[in-house]
């Protein structure tokens, strides 16, 4: 049994919606994350998939302690991070780092690569004393497959894939235990995407990192993840091992999502049954009662409007799914072996 490095319990993050300029009046809440629980084991990759607006990026911000949760808790090695002192918090921040989606806007264009990657050392001088910093940055550049000679270059002198490597080097600078990857490859071209995915995997093996890998691309998530959580409108609807989610999905949303992924094989065009969802994702300000997916679900019954389905293992299934009528269904979702 490996230990849980991160435990998330009933995490809720609501943002107030206000009206008026001077006398701001709260007229509702955007329920971005609404009761999310999961564990992250040391050395594993947890994939989080979902469409835009499902709360996956808000989740990453709360995990990074960039946002205070409205309710619920995040436990790092058993300790609730909300109760930490300022000093302890600063030490904790070293351990959880973020790789952002857009390598074009997440790097300051006026700073050299050396300064960008070395900046974390200013805040945590104990990791690298002043004299050794340039050497450390060069090591990091080498680690992520960039030329250490390029330490004095600016971000615009690099391509998208190389910039993402800079972002990864910067996240690694403080030797964290956990890296949260928020759509790290979605801005990159296919051929470059594969290079960055290989790098992330190599780093995990060499440094024993744990990843929370947030993405909307299901095949990318499958390739990298040990376990996968599927989110819809602020809730996890299904969670399990990569095999359980992709081979034996039981939640209708997971099934629809998997079936909608275009398969890069034209011979499967006609054999592939796509589950067509109608309509758009409802507004997170006033999500549907009961099951949030019921407005787009072909299985919806009266009970779905009344009762919120719990994320639990149901008879006939081997992993938790938040559907009253969870059952297995074959989906041709990935490239056949």
């Amino acid at each position: 049994m490996t230990e849980n490095i991160l435990e998330v319990r009933d995490l809720v993050k609501h943002y107030p919606v206000t009206q008026g300029i001077v006398l701001k009046k709260t007229i509702g809440h955007v329920k971005a994350v609404d009761g999310v629980s999961f564990d992250l084991k040391a050395g594993e990759t947890l994939g989080v998939v979902g469409e835009s607006g499902c709360g996956k990026s808000t989740l990453s911000r709360v995990l990074m302690s960039l946002e205070k949760p409205t309710a619920g808790s995040v436990l790092y090695k058993g300790q609730d991070i909300a109760t930490l002192s300022a000093g302890a918090m600063r030490r904790l921040r070293r351990q959880i780092q973020l790789v952002m989606q857009d390598p074009y806007t997440s790097l300051n264009p006026r700073m050299t690569v050396g300064d960008l990657i070395g900046e974390p050392f200013e805040i945590h001088p104990d990791v690298a004393p002043k004299g050794s910093r340039r050497g450390k940055v060069k090591e990091l550049l080498d680690l992520v497959g960039l030329n250490p000679e390029h330490i004095n270059r600016y971000p615009h002198q690099f391509s998208g894939g190389q910039r993402q490597r800079i972002g990864i080097a910067r996240a690694l600078a403080l030797r964290p235990e956990i890296i949260i990857c928020d759509e790290p490859v979605s801005a990159l071209d296919v051929s470059i995407q594969a290079q960055v995915m290989n790098l992330l995997e190599k780093l995990q093996n060499e440094l024993g990192l744990s990843y929370v890998f947030i993405a909307h691309d299901l095949s990318v998530v499958r390739h990298l993840s040990d376990r996968v959580a599927v989110m819809y409108l602020g809730k996890i609807v299904e969670i399990g091992t990569e095999d359980e989610i992709y081979e034996r999905p039981t939640h209708p949303y997971t099934q629809a999502l998997l079936s909608a992924v275009p398969v890069p094989d034209p011979t499967l065009r006609d054999s592939k049954a796509i589950i067509r969802l109608t309509g758009d994702v409802p507004s997170p300000i006033s999500p549907p009662s009961g099951c949030r997916f019921r407005t787009r679900c072909w299985k919806a019954q009266d009970v779905c409007a009344e009762q919120v389905p719990l994320l639990e293992v149901r008879p006939g299934s081997d992993h938790p799914s938040a559907c009253h009528f969870a059952e297995k269904r074959e989906i041709v979702a990935s490239h056949p072996a």
């Binding site: 469409e51 835009s52 391509s159 998208g160 894939g161 190389q162 071209d189 296919v190 051929s191 470059i192 995407q193 594969a194 290079q195 995915m197 290989n198 995997e201 190599k202 909307h216 299901l218 095949s219 990318v220 499958r222 390739h223 990569e242 629809a256 999502l257 909608a260 992924v261 275009p262 398969v263 890069p264 094989d265 034209p266 011979t267 499967l268 065009r269 796509i274 067509r276 969802l277 109608t278 309509g279 758009d280 994702v281 990935s334 490239h335 056949p336 072996a337």
Partner: protein, 342 residues
């Protein structure tokens, strides 16, 4: 010139139901930093009722080609330095601006990737669609509105009548893309160019939009040029594929042939870099290196610095796009070997 041997032009270049032909098109961008050769001899065509997918990564020139066809390329810095774009056999690049304008919308229409910036935020969606009927068809305000509502209805926007007077920001991403499709199809074009129409959308919405496009295309027997980098979408909808790299077409083939037996190492590399089920946990195969700088394209085959099969000849001679079978062409010196290997 390589186009004599390319499929599609058939030697004489005369159309047989051929709607749109791009013939040895060359475009460069003249910037302060130098001249970027963005399109270096692109030849393709699309017939009525068929879908041609133009596949390529960023900077391959797939969008610039489409912009040149539509006549919306920013000039300067862009300059067309050679080639023709023929619509029903007539070169559009030498037409008067007036003639070209008549083709836009009615002959060829285009859908863009980013629907939020493609629609005008200060006019209602309905107005922007109805405007075409008033200007181009001389309809009255009321008739144009009726037609616009019909169009919104055709692209399956629920409550089209009520949605007519909404502004673009009041639509969701998928609905905006539907509105843009309604707008581009309003004048019943013969060719539709769709430039990454679903890249900004979620997968479930992407499936809806691709379905809708396919349905409308079949109904109207439109020729469609689908510009994309997504190998999955292409496999689902394309009839033929043209793969672009560094401003050239490096391979052209029927969709089934291309996925089964790619005839260019770049295509092979692209297909190999998709994560596959049976290779879980293994390193992904990648294309090493980066696409070339278009201001300084390497001599010989532009792909040679990244190519695992490169030989000395690849650094010296630019491989022409040669026919290697029925409806198949490849711009690789070793195309035959690639196709015939196991």
């Amino acid at each position: 010139m390589s186009e004599q041997s390319a499929p599609g032009t058939g030697g004489t270049g005369r159309p047989s139901g051929r709607l749109l032909e791009v013939d040895d098109l060359r475009v460069e961008f003249r910037t302060r930093d130098g001249v970027a050769k963005v399109i270096n001899g692109v030849t393709y065509h699309v017939d009525a009722g068929e879908t041609l997918a133009v596949l390529g990564e960023s900077g391959s020139g797939k969008s610039v080609t489409a912009q040149t066809v539509m006549g919306i390329l920013d000039m300067p810095p862009g300059f067309v330095t050679g080639g023709q774009v023929r619509f029903h056999g007539k070169d559009m690049l030498t037409m008067s601006a007036e003639e070209r304008r008549r083709i836009r919308g009615e002959g060829i229409a285009m859908i863009f990737q980013d629907s939020l910036s493609a629609l005008n935020p200060v006019f209602t969606v309905g107005f922007q669609i109805a405007e075409q009927f008033r200007v181009r068809r001389g309809m009255s305000r009321a008739d144009a509105k009726k037609r616009a509502i019909e169009m919104l209805d055709q692209v399956k926007i629920p409550n089209a009548k009520g949605r007519f007077s909404n502004y673009p920001h009041q639509f969701s991403g998928g609905m905006r893309q539907r509105a843009m499709i309604a707008m581009s199809l309003a004048l019943d074009p013969e060719v539709l160019i769709a430039d990454e129409p679903t890249t900004a959308l979620d997968v479930t919405v992407q499936a809806q939009i691709m379905d809708l496009l396919g349905e409308l295309q079949r109904e109207r027997r439109m020729g469609m040029i689908l510009i994309t980098h997504d190998l999955g979408v292409v496999a689902d909808v394309a009839d033929r594929i043209a793969v672009m790299y560094a401003g050239r077409i490096v391979e052209e083939a029927d969709v089934f042939d291309l996925y089964a037996k790619p005839a260019h190492p770049y295509t092979l590399g692209l297909l190999d870099s998709i994560p596959r089920l049976d290779e879980k946990g293994q390193e992904l195969r990648t294309i090493k290196g980066l696409p070339p700088n278009l201001m300084n394209i390497p001599p010989g085959c532009p792909f040679n610095p990244r190519c695992p099969m490169a030989q000395p000849v690849c650094r010296e001679k630019v491989p022409p796009l040669l026919q290697i079978g029925a409806g198949r062409a490849s711009a690789c010196h070793f195309a035959e070997e690639l196709v015939n290997r196991d």
